[in-house]
């Protein structure tokens, strides 16, 4: 299953018997129970090597963690990540024309593959995408002719000789600077960005449109999908997520609020309103309710690393689709089916609108997604096993193995089980990320980032 370009660590994902055991490694963020809204994590993303882990929050801030180099080859401590850089990516803005505030919340971060010493990432809020350059500086020049060491200018009359400034070592400084700002291309709220495998272009998607950008050009973008109806009162569906194929630079998919996914080929025409493939599973009529439309809305779509499958997340399930079969998914995993009978309450407390993300592991054998009560779920595709784990401060002793959790759906509650009515719906895990080459995962609760690694014997 490994593609040629993909190095997988030999420490295997599944032991004989297919048991995965996960250990706590670190937790980042305030211990306070009183969460400041600006600190709510809104996106988590590893870079292509897994050495860097970026988070974005509601306050428009980006925090980048770096894997501790010294420990990278020490199995027990290889998932130690420390703060590398913090910067304010987006600020709140005001659209005077529409009298609307534009939130600074970071909706998505996507890393660019590394081309030189610096690292680049794209971060976006509802309206504007920015390309950030993160570079290290560990030397500074000393011995200017016209300036003193503290920066004051010298009196030219006192300069009698000329010298060449030398570079001297200094404490490592990591600087983030905005290199491009891609603005004013989206009328609606941006929900996705995706970098193309050609490393030259990327797409951004809002509720009704998908735009194609060149990373170098900020004053122009091409609209490649437009589902806005002529009469807005005829609107029946919106775009919820979009992603480029990992290898085919002409292919991308976008998901809709109706539970469909469309695959488009940019070679076919400039405007990709006509899809090449439409992935849709017929609805199970016995599951019909007031809320059927809401729960079938897809909140995330992700291609597998090998490019043969894609995964979608709707409110109650994760589905794996074979790109060659449009009629139905090849695998369906129930994340929290016990919530199906609670949809009315979840509608009233707004939880039914929560947008959960999902992710693949490095070799596409396991998928992961979040749930409520700070639970997150893993589905081992090959061994047909699944696990429910919890990210909590109580289970935060170093290298403590996470105990599988179980939700009791009715009848007698066993010890250690938790009943559906006791679940805390304010503690939701919407964002998770899996290291591209190793069994290290980052799981975001409301304002904390948990890092787990698989158990090393």
């Amino acid at each position: 299953m490994n593609s040629a370009n993909h190095k997988i660590r030999t420490s295997n994902l599944s032991r004989p018997g297919g048991d995965m055991q996960w250990c706590f490694s670190q937790v980042k963020g305030a211990i306070d129970d009183d969460v400041a809204e600006a600190d709510i994590i809104s996106t988590v993303e590893f870079n292509h090597t897994g050495e860097l882990l970026a988070t974005g929050d509601k306050g428009g801030r980006v925090v980048i963690f770096q894997q501790e180099i010294d420990n990278k080859n020490v199995p027990q401590f290889r998932s130690e990540y420390n703060v590398y850089s913090t910067f304010q990516s987006h600020e709140p803005e005001f659209d005077y024309l529409k009298s609307l505030e534009i939130e600074e919340k970071i909706n998505k971060i996507r890393w660019l593959p590394q081309k030189n010493a610096a690292q680049f990432l794209l971060s976006t809020n509802d309206k504007t995408i920015k390309l950030w350059k993160i570079s290290e500086r560990d030397k500074r020049p000393e011995g200017y002719n016209l300036k003193e060491e503290d920066g004051r200018y010298r009196d030219p009359n006192t300069i009698t000789a000329l010298r060449v400034p030398v570079l001297i070592p200094m404490d490592l400084m990591v600087e983030a600077s905005p290199r491009r700002v891609f603005a004013n291309a989206h009328t609606y709220h941006i929900n996705s960005i995706s970098v193309n495998s050609d490393n030259e272009t990327y797409l951004s998607a809002d509720d009704l449109r998908v735009n194609l950008w060149n990373l170098e050009i900020t004053d122009r973008s091409f609209n490649i999908v437009d589902i806005k109806p002529a009469n807005m009162e005829e609107l029946t569906e919106v775009i919820t997520a979009a992603e480029f194929h990992p290898h085919q630079c002409n292919t991308f998919v976008y998901s809709s609020s109706k539970g469909t996914i469309r695959l488009c080929d940019m070679r076919v025409s400039a405007l990709c309103d006509k899809h090449s493939k439409l992935f849709e599973e017929p609805e199970n009529p016995s599951n019909r309710s007031f809320f059927s439309e809401i729960i079938s809305s897809i909140s995330d779509v992700k291609f597998s690393h090998n490019g043969r499958y894609m995964m979608t997340r709707d409110y109650l399930s994760v589905k794996i689709w074979d790109l060659n079969m449009e009629s139905r998914p090849v695998e369906t995993y129930q994340v929290h089916e016990y919530l199906r009978s609670k949809l009315c309450s979840l509608y009233e407390n707004d939880c039914i609108f929560d947008k959960f993300e999902c992710c693949w592991n490095g070799n596409d054998s396991v998928v992961m997604t979040g749930s409520y009560n700070n639970f997150f779920r893993m589905f081992d595709r090959g061994h047909r096993r699944d696990a429910t784990l919890e990210a909590s401060r109580e289970n935060s002793k170093p290298l403590q193995v996470l105990k599988p959790r179980k939700v009791c759906t009715g009848g007698k509650r066993k010890k250690d089980e938790i009943s559906v009515d006791s679940l805390d719906f304010n503690k939701k895990i919407l964002h998770t990320a899996w290291h591209p080459q190793d069994n290290i995962i980052a799981v975001a609760t409301t304002n904390n980032l948990y890092i787990f690694q698989d158990k090393v014997n």
């Binding site: 609307l100 509720d207 009704l208 009162e233």
Partner: protein, 181 residues
């Protein structure tokens, strides 16, 4: 649908309608502006709830005391209305009709119709809905519909509104949700 009575379904549908309307109003003051996706989902739930509410009202119709006064109105307006059909609700819910389009269709389908002023008045050929009742339930904000240019506000007598005032506020909101963009 489970084996609950039409009355329970009716109550449930009304509750969901009320919750949805208050969510819609709340979302107007949300930071970052109206979210199109969320508004669309809210309007879909409201449409479902309203359709089910009407169908459960119709199944209750013979047993309700209100129905007799409605009949004279029905016969007078029936020439104007298309043949009311027993609506295949599930099909309608899943159909891809426009929100507004289905509003108008559903209005035609009502056999227990409210004072259907649009169809009675020759000047009112528009299939657009607008405010019918000015009396709102206590639990809902006291707001009037924003009228389209050329529309007039009709003060419908409350007694003739067979469907509660909540329904009229629903119809306001559904139309206003999407065009707000």
């Amino acid at each position: 649908m489970s084996a609950t009575t039409a009355m329970e379904v009716n109550i449930e549908a009304r509750r969901i309608l009320a919750v949805s309307i208050s969510k819609l109003y709340a979302s107007r003051s949300q930071r970052g502006g109206l979210r199109l996706h969320r508004s669309l989902l809210l309007s879909l739930v409201m449409k479902s709830a309203r359709d089910i509410y009407h169908s459960s009202r119709e199944s209750d119709a013979p047993s309700e005391a209100q129905s007799p006064p409605e009949e004279p109105m029905d016969t007078s307006s029936s020439p104007e209305l298309p043949e009311p059909q027993p609506e295949p609700l599930s099909e309608r819910n899943s159909s891809e009709t426009a929100v507004k389009e289905s509003d108008s269709e559903e209005e035609d389908y009502e056999s227990d119709t409210t004072e259907d002023k649009e169809n009675l008045s020759p000047a009112r050929q528009s299939r657009k809905r607008r405010g019918k009742a000015s009396a709102a339930p206590d639990f809902l904000p006291n707001k009037r519909a924003r009228l389209e240019p050329g529309e007039e506000r009709y003060a419908a007598p409350v007694a003739s509104c067979r469907v509660g005032a909540g329904e009229s506020l629903t119809t306001l909101s559904l139309n206003q949700v999407i065009p707000a963009f």
